[in-house]
């Protein structure tokens, strides 16, 4: 295309470098010049991210024409035998991620202008989200584990900063700390995994490591005596622990609902569309490692399926609009993870992509609602917004249908593909996972449309004052909604063949023939239309329709039903409200336990032994010595001379006696 012509003249490496550096520059301008730019602070970050999107599209087109890249840009440092390179791995997987990340990021940037316009931290916010974009791009473009880890930690840091963006709120601070600490658990596993890779492969370069993977098959390591384990299974599971933290899989999911304390735009960008999918991306990128371990794949499959159903169930009893979407995100991440477990990496990336669009859309639409409702987030206090906010209503409906998996919206294709792939899988636990995922379709539709009907239909339950001020949001908010609604509607139909079935991604992935589920589906592929028709006859579709019907019955037609059901299923809903007790357990065991342990160490170890004995003790000794030796300095010249002579005599004596 002509708008890309001039880029052909540039060395490719410049183009790649500019992709992360443009948002970084924007972040620096907004961050350092924020005091001066104030309400103009958005220009630099938006320009940076828009430029990155432009370059990302260029790179995607290049990759489509077969021009990939793998190599180091420069060496940052060398530690012993370990060179630390900054390098890029540009292939189809990276290119897809680049476009998704920069596109959603740009939408969120524009949206933020309207959403945050009178916030005192306006410039800071833009600086953070542009910095996030930089970090995420570094993560997906990495060609070695250290750079991956850099991006991994950097997105975690920015996520922490943004969850705690309104730092005067105690709940925001706690949520940001929780997110940081839980991610630390995951990152610890991730780091050990990287260390294990370095230990066994002697390199952190992707290609070098992948080339050595076959030689590691059959190697075992004994951690518990008597139970040797495959090295690759260990590495795969350790890396997956990192993914569990970042992509919020049970039991490391607890931070994600809390992260909704942050401003809505970042819930859309970081905690729905991009950062939380880093784990999915990472596992796909490491497919050569994962494919060698059936155990690891089974673990991933089962954890993903559990997350998909059980987190969705919690969504049924939530009343905060953002939290419902957050639990829905957990559930959808579970679908992606299950796809990874079934070796359907391309389906996972496909769902990642469609989910990024429709989930960002849902969040931003929810933000628009919250904005109109003057920061009210409880859906029980909303209702009947359809008339006041037509654009928000329609776009939310598109997002909701896509999420529920109703054809021909994007979510239908990707979710159905995942369920099919898991159905094809022959791994341990595949049947179990299949049942959970199918049931999940019902739950998804139910909580989505419960929220939808309560917010936009029915009686208006807000107070007078709010009702008077109801209005559609300004164009900077609605434009991104429309921009995201289009791919939410169309991306499934157009991309299922190239992305979902892996034709385009195949070069980045490595799948063993014995569990090539996507290959099975592709072998019987009769076109997207046939897939759609087939979908209409399948369980998930009818369960989703049932879910919507139930939601309509409960919340539109018969108001009394939910309350009656609540009474009937009291023990069940109690468990859901308590979120299966994960929070209580963490609070009791980890928080209280750590506090107790910390206090013990503090009083006995630190105060008594280290501070009291070693530090203050030695300090007292030194101080006493200093004071007494100071008295030697009498000022009398004959004392001084005496000390000199004594010193001399001691020297001589030493040689005469001990050396003589």
């Amino acid at each position: 295309m002509w708008i890309f012509d001039w880029l052909h003249g540039l060395p490719p490496i410049w183009v790649y470098l500019l992709i992360p550096l443009a948002p970084l520059a924007g972040s620096l301008v907004a961050g350092l010049g924020g005091w001066f730019l104030r309400e103009r602070a958005h220009w630099a970050p938006i320009a940076g991210v828009a430029f990155a999107l432009y370059l990302a599209i260029f790179v995607l087109l290049q990759v489509l024409h077969g021009q990939t890249f793998y190599g180091n840009v420069y060496t940052w440092a060398v530690f012993g035998n370990l060179p630390v390179h900054i390098g890029f791995d540009i292939d189809s997987l990276t290119a897809v991620m680049l476009v998704v990340v920069t596109f959603v990021s740009l939408c969120v940037h524009v949206y933020t202008i309207g959403y945050m316009h009178d916030d005192p931290g306006y410039a800071r916010f833009f600086s953070y989200i542009a910095l996030f974009t930089f970090s995420m791009l570094m993560l997906v473009m990495a060609n070695n584990f250290l750079q991956l880890f850099f991006g991994w930690e950097a997105v975690g840091l920015v996520s922490y900063l943004l969850i705690g963006f309104w730092f005067t709120r105690e709940s925001a601070n706690q949520a940001s700390l929780k997110a940081f600490l839980v991610n630390r658990v995951g990152d610890f596993g991730f780091l050990i995994g990287i260390a294990a890779i370095y230990h066994y492969c002697g390199s952190l370069d992707y290609r070098t490591v992948f080339a050595m993977v076959p030689s590691l098959v059959g190697q075992t390591v004994t951690i518990i005596p008597g139970h040797p384990w495959s090295v690759l299974t260990w590495i795969a599971i350790l890396l997956f622990i990192g993914a569990m933290g970042k992509s919020a899989q049970v039991p490391l999911h607890v931070w994600l609902p809390e992260s909704m304390e942050g401003p809505t735009p970042i819930s859309a960008l970081i905690h729905a569309a991009t950062m939380v999918t880093a784990g999915i991306f990472m596992v796909s990128r490491m497919s050569p490692i994962y494919e060698q371990s059936a155990t690891a794949l089974s673990v991933i499959l089962i954890i993903g399926a559990i997350t998909a159903l059980f987190m969705g169930l919690i969504g049924l009893v939530q009343n905060d609009i953002k939290r419902i979407i957050a639990y829905s995100t957990l559930s959808q991440l579970g679908y992606m993870t299950a796809a990874l477990g079934a070796s359907a990496f391309s389906a996972a990336i496909f769902h990642l992509m469609t989910h990024a669009f429709f989930k960002a859309l849902l969040f931003l639409a929810a933000g628009s609602v919250i904005h109109a409702m003057q920061n009210e987030q409880d859906i029980r206090k909303m209702g009947g917004l359809r008339a006041h906010m037509p654009i928000t209503y329609l776009t939310f409906l598109v997002g909701g249908l896509a999420l529920s998996g109703i054809p021909p919206f994007a979510g239908f294709f990707s979710k159905d593909l995942i369920i099919e792939a898991v159905g094809e899988s022959s791994l341990t636990g595949a049947t179990f996972a299949y049942v959970l995922l199918v049931l999940g379709a019902l739950v998804t539709a139910l909580y989505t449309f419960r929220m939808f009907f309560l917010v936009f239909h029915g009686k208006k339950r807000m107070d007078e004052h709010t009702q008077e001020h109801l209005h559609e949001s300004p164009w900077v908010i609605t434009a991104p909604l429309i921009a995201l609604a289009i791919p939410s509607l169309l991306a499934g139909w157009f991309f299922i063949a190239p992305v979902g079935l892996g034709a385009f991604l195949d070069s980045s992935l490595q799948i063993r023939a014995q569990w090539n589920t996507i290959g099975e589906i592709a072998a019987h592929w009769q076109g997207t239309g046939a897939f759609l028709v087939h979908g209409l006859e399948s369980w998930p579709f009818w369960l989703a329709i049932l879910g919507i019907a139930l939601a309509a019955w409960f919340y539109l037609l018969h108001d009394g039903v939910p309350a009656a059901l609540n009474r009937l299923l009291a023990p069940f809903t109690w468990v859901l409200r308590k979120k299966y007790g994960f929070d209580a357990f963490n609070q009791l065991v980890f928080v209280q336990g750590a506090l107790l342990l910390g206090r013990r160490f503090w009083h006995w170890g630190d105060e008594a032994i280290i501070d009291g004995g070693m530090v203050n003790g030695s300090a007292r000794l030194v101080a006493r010595a200093a004071l007494s030796w100071r008295r030697l300095q009498t000022g009398y010249i004959y004392h001084y001379a005496f000390v000199m002579i004594i010193g001399l005599v001691l020297f001589m004596t030493y040689f005469m006696i001990w050396r003589g």
Binding site: V622, R630, I637
Partner: protein, 481 residues
């Protein structure tokens, strides 16, 4: 070597300094009280020209004056540094001297003669020459310390310094004469050759080395020969302290290098053990007693003792790398001390010396830039990266570990921790305490201010890019063994 040509051109910087010292003396007699600046500017010019002359000799090697004068990379580089340091001393102190009616030609002349002594120490290749250089340096310093004749403390300090210094000179001279008796020559290279056949078990050699080391240790200010140092540092006018803490450290390192390495490397097994003792005692006394000081100049005096301990660690290592690291340490220390005392000079005014630690209370509020420079200086003295002080310590410890003195290195690091305490306490007072209301700093000398800024920032910048200075100092010691 004895029959080497009479290469007087090798000694041009020394000759120039000597001639100009006499010129300054004469000019000062003829210009009145008002034109004192003439002598000052002339002295500055002398130093600049001497630096240029020394620089132009860089790279030449050889002997002059029938083997009594040695020109090698070390001579040029060390001479360059002492000339530069003397220049710093002069630029720091103009206002200080003016205010106390010490702005007199004699000060400049004495300073130039002291520098001449240092230069001779650096380039001497003969025991007698070295001794003459040492005495020239020392006598000029005695006079400088006591220059404020009306000041009781200064005269007392001068007298103490003189008597004890004379004692130390006597010890050194005795050591020299024993060495002469043993080898029959004053020429250091002849001594080196003669010592090959003596062996380090020789009693007479042991005795000679003990006396030599005692004399050198006194001049360094290493414990237990350090007792003169706090009194002299405190009593002397601060610019003189500034001089004493910088130029002689490099000159005395040269003295050590000439006598005990050029001449007496055969006795390394003897002097190494003596230096181990000096290191241990100096590190402990210097770092511990400094904690109890309330006077900044006195504290810095003990800090000198401690730093001479660190320097001597490189000497203990005794290898090529060890000696180079010791020289590097001496240079870095000299510049740190210059900056530290320069700051005191800068802050002082008539009737207020700014020499108590409490005088710096809340400096950051009243003089933020000076407080920032103080921060760099103290961090550098404490050896905190990324200042050059860190690299100096690192180099010494590295050389020590290469020479397998692990425990001594560990001990040195521990003592550096103790040392950090009193440097940081100064910062605590300057940065966190409330400023005293009655304090008014001088701090109105633009020349001193700019020199201080350059000097202090150099400590930081050289710490970030230490490569060139390290290479320069290590080059000086190339081929010394």
């Amino acid at each position: 070597m004895q029959n080497a040509l009479f290469h007087w051109s090798f000694a041009i910087p020394e000759i120039w300094v000597l001639a100009m010292a006499c010129v300054v003396l004469l000019v000062d007699v003829f210009v009145g009280e008002r034109q004192r600046d003439v002598a000052y500017v002339l002295s500055i010019f002398t130093l600049l020209a001497a630096m240029a002359l020394t620089w132009s000799q860089m790279g030449q090697t050889g002997f002059a004056f029938f083997g009594q004068f040695h020109l090698d990379p070390f001579t040029s580089i060390a001479s360059f540094f002492v000339e530069l340091l003397s220049l710093l001393v002069l630029s720091y102190s103009r206002k200080y001297l003016l205010r106390r009616s010490l702005y007199r030609g004699e000060v400049f002349v004495l300073l130039l003669f002291a520098l001449l002594g240092a230069l001779i120490l650096i380039s001497g290749a003969n025991l007698l020459i070295l001794y003459l250089g040492l005495e020239l340096l020392a006598l000029s310093q005695y006079a400088l310390v006591a220059f404020q004749r009306g000041n009781l403390r200064a005269t007392e300090a001068g007298l103490k310094y003189f008597i004890l210094g004379a004692l130390a000179s006597a010890l050194l001279l005795y050591g020299m004469s024993l060495l002469y008796g043993l080898t029959g020559t004053l020429d250091l290279h002849q001594i080196a050759i003669a010592l090959v056949n003596v062996g380090s078990a020789n009693y007479l050699l042991m005795l000679a080395v003990v006396f030599l080391v005692a004399g050198i240790a006194f001049k360094f200010g290493a414990a237990p020969f350090h007792m003169w140092l706090p009194d002299a540092y405190q009593g002397a006018p601060t610019p003189v302290t500034l001089f004493m803490s910088s130029v002689p450290k490099i000159a005395i390192f040269a003295l050590f290098l000439r006598i005990l390495v050029d001449g007496g490397y055969g006795s390394i097994e003897i002097w190494r053990q003596l230096f181990v003792a000096l290191v241990v005692v100096s590190l402990v006394i210097g770092n511990v007693v400094a904690i109890a000081q309330t006077n900044l100049k006195r504290m810095l005096a003990y800090s000198t003792v401690g730093n001479m301990g660190f320097l001597a660690l490189g000497i203990v290592a005794g290898t090529q790398n060890g000696l180079a690291s010791a020289f590097f340490y001496a240079v870095v220390y000299a510049f740190m001390a210059t900056a530290a005392f320069g700051l005191i000079v800068y802050l002082s005014r008539e009737g207020f010396e700014a020499e108590e630690i409490s005088d710096l209370r809340g400096l950051v509020r009243t003089r933020p830039w000076a407080a920032f420079l103080l921060l760099i200086i103290m961090f550098s003295l404490a050896g905190v990266p990324p200042t050059i002080g860190f690299y100096a310590k690192l180099a010494v410890f590295q050389a020590l570990i290469e020479a397998h003195f692990i425990w001594l290195a560990v001990f040195g690091v521990l003592m550096a921790v103790v040392g950090a305490f009193y440097y940081l306490r100064v910062l605590k007072v300057a940065l966190f305490d409330a400023p005293a209301e009655d304090l008014a700093y001088g701090a109105d000398d633009p020349l001193a201010a700019s020199v201080l800024t350059v000097n202090s920032l150099a400590l930081l910048i050289l710490g970030i890019v230490p490569g060139a200075l390290v290479a320069f100092c290590y080059h000086a010691l190339q081929g010394v063994l």
